[in-house]
Amino acid sequence: MLGTVGTWLAAIGTLAMMSFAWRENPFYRAFEHIYIGIGAGHATVMGWQNIQSNLIRPLQVDRHFLSLVPLVLGLLLYTRFIKGQAYLSRYPIAVLVGVGTGLTLRGTVGSQLVEQVKATMIPLNNINNIILVLGTTATVLFFYFTAKKSNKAMGVTSKIGRYIMMIAFGATFGNAVMGRMSMMIGRVTFLLRDWLSIL
């Protein structure tokens, strides 16, 4: 019974979202608000579960008092609602950004610079490799921002880089369209098979 109710709700929700392809309408609008409401409810539950698993349990069971540090930082976020004390909410954000940046930096140079350069150091003995090396060079130089306008060589190279990127974007776009079509087929299959039992 519950499964049937779930299928009907999912089917109606799917149709409501798809109806946007025709135009913005009350059916879509109702489900847009339901979706946002469910999202808020889900986030609240997940938030509470996070507090339980990362704060309450470590404190009660493991006596892990360091868990109080994120609690204090989390509470400081709410000081922005206290007049005159709002500046305190910047500290947890600073910690969040600082830790996040530090952790990201660790892998960025390796994965996005050295590994990419290494992968492009290939012998120029066939047309594929030549296109790869020239294309990568031109694309990197497209992102050279401090070049003078009078530098014609840089202008031509960056133009080639732009065209190469557009070709790559075209291929990515086509690939993504195929992915979206597959999602669409999944939804239509759900409607026809699971909901209407036609298939």
Binding site: M17, F20, R23, E24, Y28, R29, E32, Y35, I36, I38, G39, A40, A43, L77, R80, S89, I93, L96, V97, V99, G100, T101, L103, T104, L105, T108, V109, G110, L113, V114, V117, K118, T120, M121, I122, P123, L124, N125, N129, V133, T136, T137, V140, L141, F142, F143, Y144, F145, T146, A147, K148, K149, M165, M166, F169, G170, T172, F173, A176, R180
Partner: protein, 259 residues
């Protein structure tokens, strides 16, 4: 060796880049501020706001759906930096701005940025606390909210600058269908094709960060862009030398990178 095997070159590269960037930041602070090439999408902001003002319709802006930590944080901050310029232009023109937010931690920053922009333009009385709207942390609930909002408010301009995932095409296509002038930018390579297909102006990859540095007029950020440019020249030099050496059968440079 105190550096893990396979990471020696990466470590020294990181140190070298840090020194170069620090040097250019220092130079920039001393007054040698680098000139950055114009970015079309950034120049179009004034046009987009002017159009929205003439039509009496709002401008929709989103700094992306990325958080303040992790790999996409820089994009979110770039989006917030450019939001400041957009909000100042809007305050000057007296147009309407709607900023939609997905991440709760971004909300206070976006509110602060917009409020400061209105104050800087001496138009704080025009600031509406409902300008910045938190929609949902759920990715597609947020997207659904933006779609409905774009249609109901009939936004004349749709500006999407930050980190985006699969919702990018849905939002950009909706903006296109309502005839909004669209400026989009992200450093997430998989989403740029969608913006290129559906938007009038696109900031490709690092152009987003450069645009943010231009908007901030901050010598530290501008110096950092100049330092990164040197890093790119080093990278190009390495890959061209490496490819040429590999062609003649010498692979010591490639081996060096593996160390």
């Amino acid at each position: 060796m105190f550096i893990a095997s396979g990471r020696v070159f990466t470590f020294f590269m990181l140190i070298l880049l840090a020194i170069i960037i620090a040097y250019y930041i220092k130079r920039s602070r001393e007054g040698y501020v680098p000139t950055i090439r114009p970015i079309a999408g950034l120049d179009a902001i004034e046009e987009a706001v002017g159009r929205a003002t003439e039509m009496g319709r709002p401008v929709h802006y989103t700094p992306g759906i990325g958080a303040l930590n992790g790999a996409t944080a820089a994009m979110t901050f770039a989006g917030l930096e450019i939001l400041s310029v957009v909000a100042r232009t809007i305050a000057r023109y007296g147009a309407n701005l709607i900023v939609t937010i997905r991440q709760p931690t971004v909300l206070p920053l976006a509110e602060e940025v917009v409020k400061q922009a209105y104050m800087a333009e001496g138009a704080i009385e025009l600031y509406n606390p409902d300008t910045v709207r938190y929609l949902s942390q759920e990715q597609f609930a947020y997207a659904a909210g933006v779609l409905g909002l774009l249609h109901r408010e009939k936004a004349a301009a749709n500006i999407l600058l930050g980190a985006f995932w699969a919702e990018s095409l849905v939002v950009a296509e909706t903006g296109n269908s309502i005839g909004a002038i669209q400026i989009a930018g992200t450093a997430r390579l998989t989403q740029i094709p969608f913006f290129a297909a559906a938007c009038d102006y696109v900031l490709i990859g690092e152009e987003l960060y450069a645009a943010s540095a231009i908007c901030s007029k901050n010598p530290i950020k501008l110096g950092s862009i100049a330092g990164q440019d040197i890093g790119k020249i080093i990278a190009v030099g390495l890959l061209v030398c490496g490819a040429l050496l590999e062609t003649v059968g010498i692979s010591w440079l490639t081996q060096l990178l593996v160390k």
